[in-house]
């Protein structure tokens, strides 16, 4: 299998991630449930991974990092917990359904939102945000990079705009956490949602978010936290206040090993490798006349994914041929981001998305290029 779908989930993981998961699962214990050795050991796994994430994202207080099962849950907790009837939200026209669908639901609770148009390549003019502001605008929600077009949005400028206008700033870092430096403090991010199983190199079933201290957030889930058990009221102290129910300790331990890998390798080195592969891919695809590359042409303006279309040939057909005849894994369709495809003009047939990861090589990109050449020539 030649795996080029790291934007969906990263594979393979560093060996240490598999080992950490196995070790934690065999150790047993439920974090925060008792004073026994097993429970305390499990609790320490959570602390260690929280501290590593705090270091990666420049977050001073690790207790402000909450573990969830994925970034969709993180975004739901944030959107449903921060917004009230009458509030208005600005998003980009690239946002994933994990932002759009909760906001659509929240319309029934009196929340409204506006999708600020991006260019066909996915670029956002921050100067255009002002015209969409309303008196009731409370929150800006922007992806760090589109999961379809790859375009990196200007978080620094958006953060400055949010600060100037006294608006909350939420970032969906699904496609960038672990490959592009993210300093929550410097970017004025109030709510940073991340997933554990993409570029943070952890297993599926992990993710989380950071919320700046002082911002009130209602939990989505209430229940047992292992603390103040005698009280029927949800405790207020973080992180337990937002972590009712058993955490995925083996998954979080493995996520910690993934973050260790990133910190040891250096995020700049990981990003450079990604850029090299995307540059190579871009150059090879430009030689194929039927291929139209979506999003920015310059690799530095995109995260490590590239989507394309093939003239009259369906992306689904190409993906299926790559998979079945060449063992090459990519993803076709709308990628749970119909807004992004509307922006790119590809709503009808979607696109083929190629997303190399840290363990892909130049030879993998070359093999993909040869396969595509043959498929497009109708040879196989």
């Amino acid at each position: 299998m030649l795996y080029l779908d790291n934007a969906a989930t990263s594979w393979p993981k560093p060996e240490e991630v598999y080992l950490a998961h196995d070790a934690a699962l065999r150790s047993g214990g439920n974090a925060g449930r008792g004073v026994n050795q097993a429970s305390l050991a499990a609790g320490r796994q959570l602390i260690h991974t929280r501290e590593k994430l705090a270091r990666l994202f420049n977050i001073k207080k690790s207790e402000r990092i909450i573990f969830t099962q994925n970034i969709t849950e993180s975004l739901n907790v944030g959107l449903q917990g921060l917004l009230s009837a009458g509030d208005h939200v600005l998003i980009s026209s690239l946002e994933h359904n994990s932002v759009v669908r909760p906001l659509e639901y929240l319309k029934s609770r009196g929340v409204s939102y506006t999708a600020v148009p991006c260019s066909k390549e996915g670029f956002l003019d921050v100067g255009s945000l002002e015209q969409h502001l309303k008196k009731q605008t409370k929150l800006l929600v922007f992806t760090h990079a589109s999961n379809v077009l790859g375009t990196i949005l200007p978080l620094k400028e958006i953060g400055e705009f949010a600060r100037k206008k006294k608006l909350l700033f939420m970032v969906d870092a699904a496609q960038t956490a672990g490959t592009i430096p993210l300093d929550a403090e410097a970017l004025n991010i109030d709510f940073l949602a991340f997933t554990g199983h993409k570029s943070l190199l952890g297993p599926p079933g992990t993710g989380g978010f950071y919320l700046r201290e002082g911002i009130k957030l209602s939990p989505l889930i209430y229940g047992g936290t292992g603390t103040n058990s005698a009280s029927p009221a949800q405790p207020a102290v973080w992180p337990e206040a937002l972590e009712s129910g058993t955490r995925n300790v083996p998954g979080i331990a493995a996520l910690g090993a993934g973050v260790d890998y990133i910190l040891e390798q250096g995020i700049e080195k990981i990003r450079q490798h990604e850029l090299d592969l995307i540059r190579q891919l871009t150059e090879l695809l430009l030689r194929l006349p039927q291929v139209e590359i979506l999003g920015p042409r310059e690799p530095e303006q995109r995260t490590g994914l590239l989507s394309c279309t093939f003239g009259g040939l369906s992306p689904d057909y190409v993906a299926s041929q790559l998979d079945r005849k060449y063992g090459i894994i990519t993803r076709s369709g709308l990628h749970c981001a119909p807004l992004a495809h509307q922006t790119a003009g590809t709503s009808k047939d979607g696109a083929l998305r190629i997303s190399p990861g840290p363990f892909n090589t130049a030879a993998d990109i070359e093999a993909l290029s040869l396969a595509l050449t043959e498929i497009l020539a109708g040879e196989k």
Partner: protein, 72 residues
Amino acid sequence: MAEEIIIFPSVHFTLRAEEELKKTAYAFTVVPVPPFISEGCGLGIKIAAADHAALTEFLAAQGIEITKTQQL
């Protein structure tokens, strides 16, 4: 030797305190909180009462919240 227990608002802070105290030479143990203490998360850290001032100052400097200390 007189002892006391430091109570933290959550398991997170208790275990963070444990991590930081491991880096020092102070003697301490993570213990269940006696039933007569209603505050905290059910876990606490037992220390020598003589180390109270130094340890509480140390923990505060690490950003670790303490709910209370209770003499045993």
